[in-house]
Amino acid sequence: MKIVVTVKLVPDPNADKRIDDGTKRLVRTGAETVLNPYDEYALEAALQIKEKVGGDTTVTVFSMAPESLKETLRKALAMGADDAVLLSDAGLEGSDVWASAYAISHALKKVGFDLLIVGGLSDDGSTGATPGALAEYLQAPLVTNARKAEVVDGKLKIERETDTGYQDVTAPLPCVMTTALTFGEPRYASLKGIMGAKKKTIAPLTVAELGLSEKVGQAGSKTQLLAFAPPPARGKGQVIEAADAVAGAQAIFAFLKERKLV
């Protein structure tokens, strides 16, 4: 079975983010590029399924990102992916969700898969719309928010989280799946994994090889991000050290009363 995992490379989510007053652009102080945290969960799911299914099952990591970020992908290889494909092209710059999904889906058709595992959300884009768009262009069924998945008789049995609880579903292969964070904590790369990753292939792919009939990049995008602005201020409020429980409760109660919340 061939499992492919999409991994977006994003600025470190823990880095301090703020809007520069002058340029009105987002500033990330000292942010390095990392694997999108959600995609590490997707990779963990892929590795668990590979361990269970065994045989000649492989896990390929796919990313669309500038070539200069190539080495960031080594972490995924160190965690246990077998190889990687990196779609890089100046023509992809400024792609919105539609243009990205359109390009990525064509690349994934070339790569081929039985099971495609996509992260549920990108930390920097956070639309969560990419998996659905990929499923459409790949003409494969979509099952999102999986917390358990098992291959039984060539089909996927999945337990997934919903808005109101959970569901058990059965999906045919090939299939597109996204993972909930409950699938399992991403593993750490072992020393052996890190050493081995250096020898694994990261195959390059460019737009010219995809045979696209639509424009991508900023020119092909169907949405445009206008200005960033700082949000309405939410300053730090009062901090009260309560002498005892009653005093603490009274302080809150008085505050709620003043704001007409009780």
Binding site: V97, A129, Y166, Q224, V246, V262
Partner: protein, 325 residues
Amino acid sequence: MKNVLVYVQHKNGVTPKVTFEMATQARKLADQLGGKAHALVVGAGSTRLADALKGYPLDAIHVNDDNDVDTYLLDPVVDYLEAAAKAVGPALILVANTLTGKDVAGRLVGRLHAGVCADATDFKLEGGKIVAVMPKFGGAAVTNCELLAADYGIVTVRPNAFAAQAGGAGATVQAIDKPSGKSYGVLVEKDIEEGSGELALEEAPVVVAGGRGLGGPEPFDTLLKPLAHALGGAVGASRAAADAGWVPYSLQIGQTGKTVSPNLYIAVGISGAIQHKVGMRSSGTIVAINKDGQSPIAEFSDLMVVGDAFAIVPELTKLVQAAKS
């Protein structure tokens, strides 16, 4: 883009409040664009729900009680939406920013070759183009996302960001035909609802949320629930609490859980990690009870009381109960 089409997410006719918020907003946008406001309601219980929706200022509600919508995951809904969109003509499609809504929006991006703006909290019309205003980067920025001229555009709408107001002349309810020649891939074998019987988290005017500081499942029942009930609200949780299995995931608030913006948010034993903050920072008033005055939540709370939650919460509940009677 001229018309507006609202996708109504529901289960057996029960829909979240955001549906009515979108219906209200659809009218405003349709008037500005010079088009009509439509809604699509499909699956078991749709006719009943359409009756309630009629009280909102829509022009037409397209209905089919088709059970396949509940038996198969997502595919039937997307087929119906495609059919409705084609019937309505160039349109802005509004979908709630919920787990299901994200899936539906993504599929429509591919199906209709359309752009998407996610998590809108406001709309503007600039030079005839629709601009969705959305918080980004954990609330560190507000972004404007413009839907460029195209036949269809999709916006996911944040629950609780818009007012819901009944009114209008009464929409016509009309049957929509089941799209023919379709096959559905994913069978739903079991569909379990958790945490029912309580006020839905996204709709509660007050949320009392607990975190790792509560140390186990019992305090959610014995400590938080009485306070939430006294305040007329609902109980929520951090991911640490959900991960520990103390509460179902449907109560989790944050980047990977629900987004809430109640009038009052009380965070009990929650440190205020960025991923939690994203889900509650737009609450009207934020109060934190935490034994560590240095917790990050102090930075965005209107009031933080430093102390032991186990001692303070029961006292606070007593005060609120006394004030009510």
